[in-house]
Structure formats: C-alpha cells, structure tokens
C-alpha cells in the first residue's frame, strides 16, 4: 500500500518527512452554566428543512416570445404570446388584447401547450409587472350599522383603472408590429385551437 499510493514520492518531495498540517486552534467556548431546570420529558425538535422557495421550473420549450395555447379557463383554446415568468412561478401572458381579447394575464404552466412558433419580443418592456400588480385589491371593510344591512348592497362594479389599460396598450404596441410583419400570424393568434376528427394530441407536433 505504501508503494502503491506513492507515499515514498510524497515523503521525498517534502524532504524525507511526511507533510503535516498544524492543528487548527479551537477558540475556547465560553463555559456554559448548567441549566437550573431540566424538563421531565424531552421536547421534540422539528426536523431541519433546508429547502428554498423557487419559482416553478420552466419547461425548456417555453421561452419569451413563444406562442402558447391556453387549455382551461375563460380563454381556453386561445393562442397567446408568453412574456415572462413571474416570481410566483406563473407565466405572464398577453393576447395581444387587440388581436384576441386576452389581456395581460397570469397563467399556470400546467394549463398551457407550448407551440414552437416564436414572436420577437425584444421591443417590449415587461420589467414593471409582478405578482402584486395582479393581486386582488383589498378594500377596507367599513363597519356596518344595523340600518345599512337592510339597504341593498352597493353593487360596485370594479372598473379597470386607466393605468392598466395604458399598460396593456404600451405592451401590445410593439408586439403587434412584429406580429403583423409575419404573414398569417395575426389571424393565427386570433383563432382558437380545437381538436378535429383524426387529430391525435400525442402524435401532433406543436
């Protein structure tokens, strides 16, 4: 074993003696006082959890500018342009609104088919959109008096704030230009996807 590991060469290189490390000086721990009270039963300690919260792993087929097909919800079947993945893991997506009525919206990766069609998204600035932008607005609850219970509940239709409409327009402006440059892409995004007779989803190339 001595010759096999070449220990003779290491010894020779170091001048006939094995190289030694100096032991690290351990700082003397401050002396702890023994606790006054030991509990009768052992208290259970929870297990260590070193997991970090991360956004869902994005499928390799989904890159900024990919055309996605939404599979569930109000916009099922719509073909839509992918912008970016938010920190919650949801995908930020836009119709564009003028083309198919899908606004800036969040969508879950699991309810989406990624096609191999890509749109150039370099002219679009999506920095300002995050999950808080899309969260539900919490209204301060007003304390109700008895009299107010009998009044018809005020139906407040929450109108879309003008700010959101402007955001939609600015994002879509650059997108629509690049979309119109490709023939048939505009009508493609305006049409819904559906399965016809003879189409086998597991054999289709998207």
């Amino acid at each position: 074993m001595y010759h096999k590991r070449g220990l003779w060469a290491i010894k020779a290189k170091n001048g006939g003696v094995f190289p030694k490390h100096e032991k690290k000086a351990i700082a003397a721990a401050p002396t702890e006082k023994p606790p006054k009270f030991y509990p009768a039963d052992d208290i259970k300690k929870p297990l260590v959890n070193k997991r970090k919260a991360r956004p869902t792993k994005l499928r390799a087929s989904i890159t900024p500018g990919t055309v996605l097909i939404i599979l569930a919800g109000r916009f099922k079947g719509k073909r839509v342009v992918f912008l970016k993945q938010l920190t919650s893991g949801l995908l930020l997506v836009t119709g564009p609104f003028k083309i198919n009525g899908v606004p800036l919206r969040r969508v879950n990766q699991s309810y989406v088919i990624a096609t191999s069609t890509k749109v150039d998204i370099s002219g679009v600035n999506v920095e300002k959109f995050d999950d808080k932008y899309f969260g539900k607005k919490v209204e301060k609850k007003k304390t109700k008096g008895e009299g107010e219970f009998f009044e018809a509940e005020k139906e407040e239709k929450s109108l879309l704030p003008q700010e959101k409409k402007d955001d939609q327009k600015s994002v879509d402006a650059a997108l629509i230009k690049t979309i119109e440059a490709v023939p048939d892409l505009k009508s493609y995004l305006g049409a819904r996807f559906s399965l016809r007779a003879g189409m086998k989803p597991h054999e289709l190339v998207f």
């Binding site: 055309v67 191999s116 069609t117 892409l185």
Partner: protein, 134 residues
Amino acid sequence: MPFKRYVEIGRIALVNYGKDYGKLVVIVDVIDQNRALVDAPDMVRGQMNFKRLTLTDIKIDINRVPKKKTLVAALEAADVKNKWESSSWGRKLIVQKKRASLNDFDRFKIMLAKIKKAGVVRQELAKLKKETTA
C-alpha cells in the same frame, strides 16, 4: 394473380418493422427460407426476416454479397433514390412524413390555403354551370 416482385439479389425492399423502420435496403443474399442478408449504405449489413420486408419494384444489378463500396456505387448507378422518390409509393411516404412534422402554425396556414383553393374551384364551377345552363 402471378407474383411480379421476387426476392432476388439486388431487390430493394422497405423495412416495415423494427429498429430500421422505413428504411430502403438491398437484399444482398438469402440465408434460408425465412431470412435474408440485407444491406444499406448507412447501416451495418445484417440478417432480416422476410416478414419485416416489403418488396418494391426497384432492382439493381449486383453480385451475391458485394463489397460495401460496390454496393454504394451500384445504388448510385441505378439512381435508386430518385426512382424511389418519384414513384407514387415513395411520394406518399414523403407526404406522410411532412404531414406528421407540421407545426400548429403550419396546420393553420394549410387550412387557410385549403379554404382559398376551394373558393377558387367553387367560383370556376359556378361559372361553368352558368355557361351550360345558359
């Protein structure tokens, strides 16, 4: 009723089962009642059961078990690739492959083209109908 395509040395066959599905191979020797020695420019020469082969109309002129170089030269000389791709069977397979590889966007564009073509045909038909009834 009589057979037209025979198993012979130099017969081109299409593999219809297994790892080499869809390839065109040359029958280079017959091993026994069920198996042939089969070769193609891009595969190692090996045995194959006749049940895995479908014979084509194309035949090339080679000796029994030629060297790979001679085989490739004979295939070039007989222009097998072009003959196959211009035959109706070969064209069908090419179209099938193209259709299977279509993108979702491609399928949409094809749908638009089909509708356009049908529109043009229908217009012409209407014109002709008017002429015959007039």
